[in-house]
Each structure stands twice: as structure tokens, then as C-alpha cells.
């Protein structure tokens, strides 16, 4: 600071300007406070916030299609969705699927796409089995021409372009990168093979297929590249390359290893390449444009598909549309979750208000005793209370037994109070009631009883005195309790799972189902994200109304 006022800056004892010395002390205090907070903040960020962010990411992530079928996705980009795609697309699909089948990733992709269009998973499963047979035709033909095509050593030498040839490291690292995405792990190291630059220019498909094979052999299978016979896909790729007349011309002046063998193969008659027919032969559903549409629609790395699914919509060629009537389940589920949470909140207000009033207006000795009756359920394990309600509400349970014993209900027509909405609402009202009573009680404690007496002495009736004087002052308590109960209710899982049956379950039960049973993690994440958004809005409202610092426990 350049303080050049006439009187000069005020100085601290050590001669530094007071302002600066104060600021330094303040900064040191800030730093100390932050240093105390930092470990916990980092801990929470790593163990809690990161998982939540990961979930948000999963709700839009869709890299599996692009990672598993990169070439197909590329070819499909310009497809107009009018008819079955052309041969080029099917060739790309063949090579992609072959690699995916080797890595056993094609079924995962199948089940992923099956969420969007049912029936597609069997398509990938059957064709994944058949790709080897389709490629074998070309392997047999090439080995017929020259048995040396069978030799692993010959292939390795041929594709590396011989000793001292210029290397095409880019192709290799591209293919290894693709394998890394497919296997979702990192591959580093020298695989003992590099494709030659010249040969990969003459035979681009073969070089690509062989490089993928080489990387897979080394990293996944853990074998030596030069000792393994190439996949059928490599032979098919060679056939594709040789189909092009330009290849033969280029080969004529090629002098690398096995050049003669390649020239002989180029001159010979190879079986015609019709991947489209072969794939459709393997599974006739490949001819259906709507499956291809699904692949095309879900090819980008990020998708809104899960969110659309979570709100009962889907992507169609004509844009986004509602699903057909019988497939809409999440709208109903969200509405039901909302409705039941509201019912639980209202029941809690209705039951909690009298209790809070009583506790706030009784002499403190009595109210402390009664408070134990509120706190005991609050402190009792959630599962204990849930199992208690199961015991109470069952058809052979305590309530039904008492009703039958009293003769109010006939033995054969016992009430059905569990595995439906009623059961969930009753059990959860009981479980969440303390969360309503405690905030209401702390607000009501601050309302002087004399106000009511004053109102009555001024001529108000009991009801007017309560409604016009007491109730408005207790509204903050109702608000705080309601938001708290609603937030807790909307995300409940355990109790609805046990007493809810099929009609009394919440959105959280569906999320759990998608995580552990249907394995549709993306949809689970999207449903979770929507639920989280609702809760955060409520949390924000709670913070505005009550203030997070004012949350009290017990």
C-alpha cells in the first residue's frame, strides 16, 4: 500500500502500518480456519460429492455404442433411415462386432440398446456367435491359394513390412486406444509388433484389423503376436482390400515380405463379399430399419435418452414423443411418490400438531416425561419400527387379531392393511412423526401462552383465539416440519420396500431395482438425478425458511 497522506499511516508496534498488520492477522486466522475445515471438506468431496457427480454423469453418458461400434457409427452418420443400410455399413458392423465379440463386449451393448428397443439384445448375441463363421469363408479361400496364409510368423512379418521398414505407429496406437475404450482399462507397453507404413497404405483394412488383433493378443490374451494365427476378421479384411482393383496395381510394385503371396491372392478368384447378406442371414432382424435407427439415435457419446425414458418419453425418427400408453410407468410412479409423500406430510401435521401443542403448554416436568414417548421411537432403529409395523398390519397381525377378537371384523374378511399404499402411509407417518413434532415443538415453545389468554379476555372465542392468534405464530414450525418430513419421505426406500407391496412403492424402489436387478444404471442415474433435483429445491426452500444452521437434533 502506498499511503502518503500528510499525517502518515497509523503504525503498529513493530513499525508496519496498522492496516497491513491487521490484514495479515486476519489472513492468518482465515487460513487457520480453512486448514481446520480442509480435511473434512476433502473427505466429503471424495467420499460423497464425487459419487453424486458420477451419478449425474452416468445419467447422460452413452459411450458404449461409440466405443463398441466406432466404424459403424461413423458409416451410419449419413444414413437417412429410409431403408436397410448399404453394404459399407454392414462391413463396418462386421469388423466392429468381430472385435467386440472377441472382447465379449457385444452382449453388454446389446443389453444397453435393448432398454431402448426390445429385441435388439438377441440380435447382437446371435450375430456375435456367427461373425467367426462369416470370416472363415475368406480364411479358407486364402489358405487354399497359399497355405502360408496359415502361418502366424508369415502374417506378423508381412504386416510389419519387414525389418527396417518405415513403421505406422499411429495406426497401432489408434487401435490400442480403441481396445482401451472397449475393455475400459489402460494398456501400455511394447507389444512386439508395429504395422509397416507402406503395407498399411496398400492394405488399409487388413493393417487395421491386424493391428487390433495384435493389440488384443498381447494385452488381453497375454500371448506373443508372432505366434498366433490371425482372426477370421483379418482374412476378411484382406479380402475386402483385394476386392479393390487399385490394390492389385499397388501390389505390383510392392517389394516387402510375402509380396508374391499377396500378388497371387490378388490375382486369384476370392468368394464375393456380401456382408449385408451374411449378417441378415445370421439374423434377419438386421434388415429391419428400426433397429438401425436405434443404433443411430444412440450413437453420440452423450444422450438425453435416459432422462426421456425417466419421464416416459422416447426418441423417434420424428423427434421426441410420449411413449405408448401401456409403457408409461414413471409418470405414475413420480405422481404416486408425490401423492404419498404429501399424504404422509399431512398425516404428520395432523398428528404432530396436537402433540407439539400439548408438549409446549404442559408444565415442563410432565412435558419432559411425555417427550420421552416421542424421542423413543425417534431413537429406535428404523428396521425395528418397520418390522413392528409388519407385525401390526399383517392379515394375521396384531391389529387384525384385536379386531377379530372384538368381533368388529369377521375372521374370514380380515382387513388388508399391508403391501399397499395404506400400509406405507401408516408406517411412514409413524416413522417420520418425530421429525414433525420436534421442529413444531421448538417453535411453539417460543409462543407465550398469555397471548391466547389476552385474546380471550378481549372477547375472542376459543376458536378465534387459536386461529387468529396462535396458529399464525406456529406456521413456521409447521413449514419447517413439513419440508423436513417431505424431503425424508420422498426418498424413502426401506419401509416402502417391506410394507409397500407393489402399489405402495416409491420412485426409490424403482431406482434400486434398476441398479441391482435390471442393471439399467443409466436409467437409475437419471431417475436419481430427477429425485435429487426435487430434493435440492426443497432443501433450498428449507434453508430460506428455517436456515440450515438452525437444524436441531433431539
Amino acid at each position: 500500500m502506498s499511503d502518503t497522506t500528510q499525517t502518515g499511516p497509523m503504525l503498529a508496534a513493530d513499525g508496519t502500518p496498522l492496516k497491513r498488520s491487521l490484514r495479515r492477522a486476519l489472513r492468518a486466522q482465515k487460513m487457520r480456519a480453512l486448514a481446520l475445515i480442509a480435511p473434512l471438506l476433502i473427505f466429503v468431496l471424495l467420499t460423497f460429492i464425487a459419487p453424486i457427480v458420477d451419478m449425474l454423469f452416468r445419467s447422460v453418458e452413452n459411450q458404449i455404442v461409440g466405443n463398441t461400434l466406432p466404424m459403424t457409427v461413423e458409416e451410419l452418420r449419413d444414413w437417412d433411415a429410409a431403408d436397410t443400410p448399404d453394404e459399407q455399413v454392414f462391413r463396418a458392423l462386421f469388423f466392429d462386432l468381430f472385435l467386440a465379440a472377441e472382447a465379449k463386449e457385444h452382449t453388454k451393448l446389446g443389453s444397453r440398446l435393448n432398454y431402448e428397443e426390445s429385441g435388439i439384445s438377441s440380435l447382437f448375441r446371435t450375430s456375435g456367435r456367427d461373425v467367426a463363421d462369416i470370416g472363415e469363408v475368406f480364411q479358407d479361400a486364402l489358405e487354399e491359394i497359399d497355405p502360408a496364409f496359415e502361418e502366424a510368423q508369415v502374417w506378423a512379418e508381412m504386416m510389419s513390412g519387414g525389418a527396417g521398414a518405415e513403421a505406422n505407429t499411429r495406426l497401432l496406437s489408434n487401435q490400442i486406444g480403441r481396445l482401451e475404450q472397449l475393455e475400459s482399462s489402460a494398456f501400455n507397453g511394447d507389444i512386439g509388433f508395429v504395422p509397416g507404413a507402406e503395407i498399411s497404405e496398400i492394405l488399409p483394412n487388413t493393417a487395421r484389423a491386424y493391428a487390433a488383433f495384435a493389440g488384443f493378443t498381447y494385452f488381453v490374451d497375454g500371448d506373443v503376436v508372432a505366434e498366433e494365427e490371425p482372426w477370421e476378421a483379418v482374412y476378411a479384411a484382406l479380402a475386402v482390400d483385394l476386392e479393390d482393383p487399385a490394390t492389385a496395381t499397388a501390389l505390383a510394385s510392392y517389394s516387402g515380405p510375402s509380396a508374391d503371396m499377396l500378388r497371387a491372392a490378388a490375382a486369384a478368384e476370392l468368394p464375393p463379399i456380401d456382408m449385408k447378406a451374411a449378417m441378415i442371414d445370421s439374423n434377419k432382424d438386421w434388415a429391419r430399419p428400426n433397429f438401425w435407427e436405434t443404433i443411430q439415435t444412440y450413437s453420440p457419446p452423450y444422450t438425453t435418452g435416459y432422462f426421456l425414458n425417466a419421464v416416459d418419453m422416447e426418441k423417434t425418427p420424428n423427434g421426441i414423443a410420449l411413449r405408448s400408453e401401456d409403457e408409461r410407468i414413471y409418470g405414475i410412479l413420480f405422481k404416486r411418490t408425490m401423492f404419498m409423500s404429501l399424504m404422509i406430510t399431512f398425516s404428520c401435521v395432523a398428528l404432530g400438531y396436537p402433540i407439539a401443542w400439548l408438549l409446549a403448554n404442559l408444565p415442563s416436568r410432565t412435558s419432559n416425561l411425555l417427550m420421552i414417548l416421542v424421542l423413543l421411537p425417534f431413537w429406535t432403529s428404523l428396521l425395528v419400527r418397520t418390522s413392528a409395523w409388519k407385525v401390526m398390519l399383517q392379515q394375521q397381525g396384531v391389529i387384525n387379531d384385536v379386531l377379530v377378537w372384538l368381533g368388529l371384523v369377521a375372521d374370514e374378511s380380515r382387513l388388508v392393511m399391508i403391501n399397499n399404499q395404506f400400509g406405507t402411509i401408516v408406517a411412514m407417518t409413524h416413522i417420520l412423526l418425530p421429525f414433525m413434532i420436534l421442529p413444531m415443538y421448538s417453535v411453539m415453545q417460543t409462543i407465550p401462552q398469555t397471548y391466547l389468554r389476552a385474546a380471550k379476555s378481549l372477547g375472542a372465542t376459543n376458536w378465534t383465539a387459536f386461529w387468529r392468534v396462535y396458529f399464525p405464530q406456529s406456521v413456521p414450525g409447521i413449514g419447517a416440519g413439513s419440508i423436513l418430513v417431505f424431503i425424508l419421505a420422498i426418498g424413502y426406500y426401506i419401509t416402502p420396500e417391506i410394507v409397500g407391496g407393489t402399489t405402495g412403492t416409491f420412485i426409490s424402489n424403482r431406482i434400486a431395482y434398476h441398479i441391482s436387478s435390471s442393471l439399467n444404471w443409466g436409467l437409475a442415474a437419471a431417475l436419481g438425478t430427477i429425485l435429487l433435483a426435487v430434493v435440492l429445491i426443497l432443501y433450498w426452500a428449507y434453508d430460506k425458511i428455517v436456515g440450515i444452521d438452525n437444524v436441531k437434533l433431539g
Binding site: 460423497f48 451419478m55 429406535t380 418390522s387 409388519k390
Partner: protein, 396 residues
Amino acid sequence: MNGFTLTPVETKPLSFALPVIGAAGGFAGLFVGTAHGSGAMGIAIGAVALILLAYLALVVFGLGQEKVTRWGIFALFVITGFLLAALPGIVLGVLSGLFFSWFIFWIGEGRYRANLAPYLTSGQVLWHYTFRVICGAIFVFLITPILVVMPLSFNAQNFFTFTPEMLRFDPAGYSLKHYQDFFTSSGWQQALRNSLAIAPVATLLSVSFGTLAAIGLSSEHVPFRRAIMAILISPMIVPLIISAAGMYFFYSRIGLQGTYFGVVLAHAALGIPFVIITVTATLVGFDRSLTRAAANMGADPVTTFFRVQMPLILPGVISGGLFAFITSFDEVVVVLFVGSANQQTLPWRMFTGLREQISPTILAVATILVVISIALLTTLEYLRRRSERLRGMSPG
């Protein structure tokens, strides 16, 4: 209950007392009647019997012999109960006998007015007691489920419901076999061990990190205080199923899913908000000049913390720790996803047991847990009192 009467008590006219007591008798008779086939008969007999009793008690014997009359009515109810329904009948007889021997005099002598302001109209008096009855019913709703679990855990059968033997108070209907099952079954014992291995470590983590951070947060000069607070409290606000889903996805990415360490970390994160809230609340009442005084007298920050600050905020730290412990000990959703079969905790086993409805061993475990939570509640209440006392003593 206050020891003094607000309104002088006066004997009510019989034209008021007899119908009221008769109505109560009819109401009780309804249940006895339906249990024996005819509700209408029950109402009639109950009403007539009670009116007769009330007349005898209030007019024939009078106030002078109140004690004797009460015992008489009580004995009458117990004997009738025994004749109607044997042992369970005696229990009901004792309860209703106690109630009616008190109720007849309470109504007849107008004692219900004693604790109320004299100017209340009879409608207001009626509402006052109706309100009490409603509150009583809500308290019953709150506490019954927990009480019902306890006797059922001593069931000799493998049922989730009261057997006829239990209702007859036949000793053969009760047994400790479910407790024995809990203490001998390797599955339950493993679950108990897992719970006890996870909860204390998670508590330790959240208490140590949480206390430090709460002390940092209580300083006036923390930048972004609100944002930091929101992040630290968030594990309590975010629904458990979402936390569980996120942790499941993320922990399986980094190889923590299905490990002991992963469950401990997850539970520690869930317990942190409770520690933060309780310790910050305690620190509000903490007098900062004490630390300054300690520093003035030559104590270094660490000594100041352990010798001056810590003893004063200890109740808050311990109750935060108890909350964190209960959170972990009672938690099932997150462990269900983040843990594997090797980390099966008590609540997890109870949850799967409830879903598949295997045995009342769950109820035995539940009873044990209720007893534990009563113990914790008592500790917490004691700590709260102590903390208030300490705060009262601290200067300023």
C-alpha cells in the same frame, strides 16, 4: 397434579353423572358384547351395570366410604373378567376396574374441574378432555409398535403374531429360543461383528474430522461459510437411495465397492452432518476468551485445545458421536449397495429377513436394539443436562 385446586369441587347432580357413567359403561360393554356374540346386549348390560354401580357408590355408600367402594368395584371387575375370559380377562378386568373405580368418583364428584380455570364453560371442559384423549391416542400410536415387538420376541412358535398360548399367559407359549438363536447362529453373530467393526471406525472418522471442521467453521472469518456448510450437511439431506446409487457407481469404478473400507468411508460420510451440527451448536455457547486466556498464560494451541476447549465441548462431541454411531449402526440402504456379503450388517440381515419373512429372531434382535437405543437416549439426555450445567458455569 399441581397440588392445588383452581376450582372448588362440587358433587354433580345424578341426572348428569349417571348418564355419563352409563354411556362409558355402554361403550366398554360394546367390546365385551361383540367378543361374545352380541354388541347390543353388551351395550345394554354395560350401561345398566355401570349406572347401578354408580348409584350404589355415589348415593348408597357415599363419599365417606370411598376407599372401600373403590376396592369393591375393582374386585367386581376382576372377577367378572375372570369369569368371562379366564387369565386375559383378569388383565382386562384389572385395567377396566382401576379405570371405572376412579371414573365414577371423578365424574360424580365433579373432580374433573379441579385443575381447570373456573370460568370455563362445560363445552370447553369437554373439549379440554377430548383433546387430552386425542393426544393420548396419538401417543399410543407412537409407542405401541415398539412395545408390541417386545412380548412377541418371546414367542415359543415361529410366528410373527400372538399365539393363543401367549394370550392365555401359558408359560409354554413363551420362550427365549429366538434370543438363543440370535446368540448362537453364526450368521447373526457375523452380522453383529460386522456392525461392530464398521460403526466405531466410521464414527471415529466422522468425529475427528467433524470436530476439527466445526471448530474451523465457528471462527468468524471463514470465507464461503454457507457453501461449505451446505456441502458438509448434504449427506443428511440427499436421499439415502441416491447416495447409495452414487457411491455404488463411483466406488465400483475405483475398486472400493464390496470392501470393508468402502463401507466405512460411506458411513463416515453419512455421519459427518450430525457431528457438524451438534458440535457447532455446542461451540455457539463456547466462550472464546477462555482460549485467549490460555494462550496468554503460555499454552500452545494444541494444549489449549485439549486442556481447555475439548473438555467444554466434549458433551457436544460425544452426542455427535452417538448420532454418527447410530447412523452407521442403523444404516441399511448404503451398505446394501456399497457392501458385499462379507460386510453384511445387523440391519442388512434384518432387512433381508423381513423381505423373506424367515423368523421372529428379527424381533429378538429388534428388542435388543430397542434396549440399546433406550440406553443411548439416556446417555444423551444426561450429556445434554451436563452440557447445560457446564455452560451455566462458564463465565460470560
